[in-house]
C-alpha cells in the first residue's frame, strides 16, 4: 500500500502529514509506505498510490487520479487522520 502526502513545497507540511500518517497507520496496524511529495510531481509520484493526503486548497491541483484523495483539515489532529484513513482503507 502506497500513500502520498502532498504539499506545495514537498517539504514542511507534507512531511508533517507523512510523519503523523505513519504514526496513525502503525497504531491501526496497517502496513503502508507514506511518501511526501510536492504538488507539481503528484502525477508521477502518486501514479501507483492508493491514497493521497492533502489540504483542501490543493485538491484541484492534483487533477484526475485513481487514488482516494483524503482532505486533511488539521495536520496535527491524529484522531481526524485516523478516522479518515480508516474510512478510506477499510473499504478495500
Amino acid at each position: 500500500m502506497k500513500i502520498v502526502a502532498i504539499c506545495g513545497a514537498g517539504i514542511g507540511s507534507s512531511g508533517i502529514l507523512k510523519v503523523n500518517a505513519e504514526r496513525v497507520l502503525g497504531r491501526l496496524g496497517i502496513p503502508a509506505t507514506v511518501v511526501a511529495a510536492d504538488v507539481s510531481t503528484v502525477r508521477t509520484v502518486a501514479a501507483d498510490a492508493q491514497v493521497i493526503l492533502t489540504s483542501p486548497e490543493l485538491v484541484d491541483a492534483i487533477g484526475p487520479t485513481f487514488a482516494d484523495v483524503i482532505v486533511v483539515e488539521n495536520y496535527f489532529d491524529t484522531a481526524e487522520l485516523s478516522r479518515k484513513l480508516e474510512a478510506a482503507l477499510g473499504e478495500g
Binding site: C7, I11, G12, K18, P56, E57, F76
Partner: protein, 148 residues
C-alpha cells in the same frame, strides 16, 4: 535530531500585521535575523502561498510558512511570531491565524526529523493556544519543549 534551532531573536510576540503577506514576511524577517536565511527565502515562502493557496495553515490558528530549500537557506532554523490581531489567510477551516511559524531546512534529507519534532510539539492540541497566549520568550521556549 530535534527541532530546528529556535533562536530567541527569532521569536516575536504580539506583532501587528495588516494581513497574511505581512505575517509571512515577519516570519521570514525573523529567520533572516537569526541568520538562518536571506531575504529571498521570505519571498519564496510568500510565492508558495500565492501559487498554491493557503495550505500552509495546517491547523486551526497556525500557519507553517515554508518553501523549498535553496541558496537563500543558510542554516536550519525556526521562527515564531504571534499576532496581536489574528489575520485571515483564506483557509476554509483553519482561519484566523494567531501563530505563524517560519521553517527553513538547509538539507532536505533532515527535513523529516525536523517536522517529526514539530509534530511532537503540536500533536498536543493545547500547544497553539499556549503559544498564542505566550507573554515572554521563555513561555514560547517552554511550549516548544526547549526549556523547562
Amino acid at each position: 535530531m530535534g527541532l530546528p534551532p529556535l533562536a530567541e531573536t527569532a521569536i516575536e510576540l504580539g506583532a501587528h500585521v495588516a494581513g497574511w503577506r505581512q505575517a509571512v514576511a515577519l516570519a521570514g524577517d525573523l529567520l533572516v535575523r537569526a541568520g538562518a536565511t536571506r531575504a529571498g527565502y521570505t519571498d519564496d515562502m510568500i510565492r508558495m502561498i500565492e501559487e498554491n493557496g493557503p495550505y500552509v495553515v495546517i491547523a486551526p490558528g497556525l500557519a507553517l510558512a515554508h518553501a523549498r530549500t535553496g541558496p537563500d537557506v543558510l542554516a536550519d532554523g525556526l521562527a515564531i511570531a504571534t499576532l496581536a490581531t489574528p489575520v485571515a489567510f483564506g483557509h476554509p477551516h483553519n482561519d484566523p491565524v494567531h501563530v505563524v511559524l517560519g521553517l527553513a531546512i538547509a538539507d532536505a534529507r533532515r527535513h523529516l526529523a525536523a517536522v517529526a519534532a514539530l509534530a511532537n510539539v503540536f500533536n498536543d492540541s493545547t500547544a497553539i493556544d499556549d503559544l498564542a497566549s505566550a507573554r515572554t520568550t521563555d513561555d514560547v521556549l517552554r511550549v516548544m519543549g526547549e526549556r523547562r
